[in-house]
């Protein structure tokens, strides 16, 4: 394995340390090392590394650059809301604060290049300098000339510099219209189940044996592997649930080797963890507290999504109900629901073909204000005056994001809205005002 990580110009023991720190990524690290070449050699101007989330892109880069003590600047493109921050960070880590302070207030690309070259004359690179761009997909949203310029930075500044882009998106989505210097593409594949097992088993608990922790990881992967292959997520879950796994052991009920009993103990617990803590319904802290308080079962605690009940004013409730009816019923069926003597309307005959499919599957449809008010007046039992308060309640529902305004062009003349609440929500609301909404929904006839 270690044999792959070989490159002249670096010390042997350092390479071995790197190899130890990069389990299951020897191949990729070896390729990278061979691209980088010897420290003083010129490397490829830009390397583009892509792969799924938590496939070790940043980790491999970071370990390599740090352990081999290469000069580098790591820039997270999320942090750089303006190009000035980006330039500043690069200059800072290569030449110190003096160079960074030379940048004007709102620097352009040419300012950056000019200052870089100035500094370069004073302290020319003895080794290849590396600029690592994390989350490089955000570079596309910045100035159009930035990405092509960074791709051929080596050429622009005439220095031994290599830019490494890390992204979860393939290169094809980056390519500008006018073309650019094509970087070297490097793919980081996903970890397999065995690799995950191997990596996760590394951080074992000191008071238990390695085999015991490995069997725990095995059980954990058996439950979670089908839904989650994210290393970080799995590691977090493993840390959270390990104390529960060890419980029978601490009580002295079972021995370490009795895997089946341990599995029987932890398996329902892990299933519950998948529904709660994995979806972040229950925070990790709450989950740990629940494990400590044994008698308290994990079920009764209501997660975040259970708190969908919202207290609204009386007329706002009816406005929301009317909006829901207007959004999910075809306008042609209004006569049938809200007129007393509508005559005979058959369900199948008078509807267009696309209306016959469920409106709840297709999502809410926009409706004009007057239709909302007409349905509102017909569902409210008492007579309501169209006061300013009713109108501002409509606007407030928009502000609360229970309704959304469609087509922003005229706010007053003929505004259109959509209802943005779910069926469960509206059913709960209509129950509080004793309104049977299902009776009025076309889909449920």
């Amino acid at each position: 394995m270690i044999a792959r990580l070989q490159q002249t110009g670096y010390e042997e023991d350092r390479l071995q340390r790197v190899a130890k720190l990069l389990p299951c990524r020897e191949l990729q690290a070896g390729t990278l090392l061979s691209i980088m070449g010897q420290p003083q050699q010129y490397s490829y101007p830009s390397v583009f590394i892509y792969g799924h989330r938590a496939s070790g892109k940043s980790h491999v880069m970071h370990i390599l650059l740090k352990e081999l003590e290469l000069p580098h600047a790591t820039v997270s493109c999320v942090e750089c809301v303006s190009v000035a921050l980006l330039f500043e960070q690069v200059l800072l880590s290569f030449f110190g604060c003096d160079a960074a302070s030379l940048l004007p207030r709102s620097p352009s690309l040419s300012d950056f290049v000019r200052i870089y070259r100035q500094q370069c004359l004073e302290m020319p690179a003895k080794q290849t300098r590396y600029v690592v761009m994390e989350k490089a997909e955000l570079l596309r949203d910045m100035d159009a000339n930035l990405l092509p310029a960074i791709l051929r930075l080596q050429e622009l500044v005439e220095d031994n510099v290599t830019v490494i882009f890390l992204s979860e998106i393939v290169w094809d989505k980056f390519r500008p219209n006018t073309g650019c210097f094509e970087p070297l593409l490097l793919h980081f594949p996903d970890y397999s189940k065995g690799e995950l097992q191997q990596i996760l088993s590394q951080d074992k608990h000191p008071s238990y044996s390695a085999e015991f922790y490995s069997s725990y990881i095995n059980i954990l992967l058996g439950v979670f592997y089908s839904v989650c292959r994210d290393l970080r997520e799995l590691r977090h879950l493993a840390a959270l649930n390990f104390s529960k796994f060890c419980e029978p052991l601490a009580e002295g009920k079972v021995k370490e080797s009795d895997t089946h009993k341990l599995w029987r103990n932890i398996e329902p617990h892990l299933k519950k963890a998948m529904q709660t803590v994995y979806l972040r319904e229950v925070s990790s802290l709450q989950w740990e507290q629940m494990q400590q308080v044994e008698e308290k079962e994990t079920g009764p605690l209501r997660g975040l999504s259970a708190h969908t009940h919202v207290e609204l004013p009386y007329y706002s409730k009816f406005l929301l109900i009317a909006a829901y009816l207007a959004s999910y019923n075809p306008a042609r069926t209004d006569k049938r629901f809200f007129l007393k003597h509508h005559g005979k309307i058959k369900k199948t005959n008078f509807l267009k073909k696309n209306e016959k499919t469920s409106n709840h599957l297709l999502g809410p449809k926009p409706f004009p204000l007057d239709r909302l008010l007409a349905i509102f007046y017909s569902v409210v039992d008492s007579r309501v005056a169209p006061t300013a308060s009713i109108f501002s309640q409509i606007s407030s529902l928009v502000t609360l994001q229970l309704l959304t305004q469609v087509s922003h062009d005229d706010q007053l003349d003929a505004p259109k809205y959509k209802c943005a609440v779910s069926m469960d929500f509206i059913c709960a609301i209509s129950r509080t005002v004793n309104f049977d909404i299902v009776k009025y929904l076309y889909d449920f006839l």
């Binding site: 209004d334 006569k335 007393k340 003597h341 109108f391 502000t399 062009d409």
Partner: protein, 576 residues
Amino acid sequence: MSLLEVKFIGDGDVLDHIVDKQEGVQKNSGGVQKMVTFKRPTGRRATMDNGEHDADENGLIDEQNYVQALGTDNTEEDEEGMSRVAGSSIFTFQKNKRGHSMAHTASELARTPGKTVSFSKTPNTEPSTPTRTGRSQRGESQTPQRSKKVQFVSTTPHRLRKRMTAPSLRSDSDSELSPSDSEAEEEDEESTEQEHKVKKEDKENVKAPRTPSKNLSAALYKTPAKKSKSSEPVHQPSMVEEYFEAHGSSKVLTSDRTLERLHTPKLDRETLIRLLEGKPSCYSKEIQQLHKKYCKHFNKWMLQLKLGFSVLVYGLGSKKALLEEFRVSHLSQEIHLVVNGFFPSITLKSILNALTCEVFDHQGSFRTPADQIQFISKTLKDSPDLNVYLIIHNIDGPMLRGEKTQCALGQLASLPNLHLVASIDHINAPLVWDQFKQSQFNWLWWECVTFQHYAEETSYENSLLVQQTGALALSSLTHVLRSLTPNARGIFKLLVKFQLENKDNPSYTGLSFQDFYQRCREAFLVNSDLTLRTQLTEFRDHKLIRTRKGADGVEYLIVPVEANTLVDFLENEEGD
């Protein structure tokens, strides 16, 4: 005149019935007097022939006397006064009846068929129809006297109720659409009516034979069937039903009567003003009175402004004169700023600039409106004695109704020593403010129905009937563009951007068509030059662009709008 009389007698007879039936104490004197005055014309008409205008005059005078005797003010015309009395007495009768109406209905119903049978016999005796039809020369209604009377009575409650809910709609026919509650009451009324009428029948037959018509009998026959349909009276606003009725079918009816059919399809502004001039309102005195009445509130407004409220004036008619009066009488000694929200090129920036430059004498510019508002609030906080009054005509104007603008105005209004007086005109104006903004504004709503013309407010609007003059204003520019497709908007924006880039270049003649086509193609806005040409024709129709032939025979395109307006327009578009 004769027509007038026909109607009166109808009402009178109806009143007779009611008074007889009711035998109450409230309406006794009026009823008796009326019977005296009204029996006379009817009797005379039965005997006399048509064309006797003296008789009609007499009748009119009698009616006037009657109205005076009743004590109602007769400043209005006779007819109106008369019908109003009739209507009100009918209405009160109905109210009295309502208490035990439901109990009555059942027993009355049982007897109704019998009565209708006796009615249906009466058509046999109809002697004087020819004279009657000959009399009504105005040709409004050829229907015989009797039927009209009955119809009127039966529909009145329905109509009244309708008028209360839907003032614009009046259906004379006793329609099937009428809400069930009114049916029930009508029913009840008609049955009592019938009972009463049968009593009257023989008496009238002796005195003056009438012509009961098919209409009457038909209406009466209909009622039992209707009754069986509606089991219980439910209160339902008919406006809602009318909405669904009107929007029930997706068929769109358009007329082919276009403006081109007119002789002069478009007036220009001067002609319009000339035509509108010299048409003073016939109620100018009353309008002045209203105006004076509202002026009395000014002191209250001042107090409320001082107490931290903002005054919002709403109602029919232009409120500009009222606010101007308020400004002159109460704010002339104070620092105040008047904003014309109806002005089509007003922006938030111009309001804020006016505040900072004119009121606070601050030179220099601000980067964002938020900075500017912060500066204003800081200045006002530092000097608590400084009171600034802001008068906004039409705070719901087309350029001010945006979310950002209202947010900024709300922030201003929430400052303790900046006071806001505003007026609204749009029917959906309260939609602009949600709860948060309302709490910022702290409105006090004052209803001021002035009935004054929107002379200045509407002068900027572009109407179909009026020719546009001069350059497009910002609001009409956005208005026209919003009705276009996104692609068309993109094409126009491309041209605007190019023109703004070249605005400092005096030798700029415009963008040539070929060049423009290339740019549009690159932006994926058009696929062929034919599409672009059609699009340009549309722009030309809306006067958004102008074309000019250059010296080399190439078409050059230009947007005939000022550069500042274009900059504002682009800002607005990007803000959305």
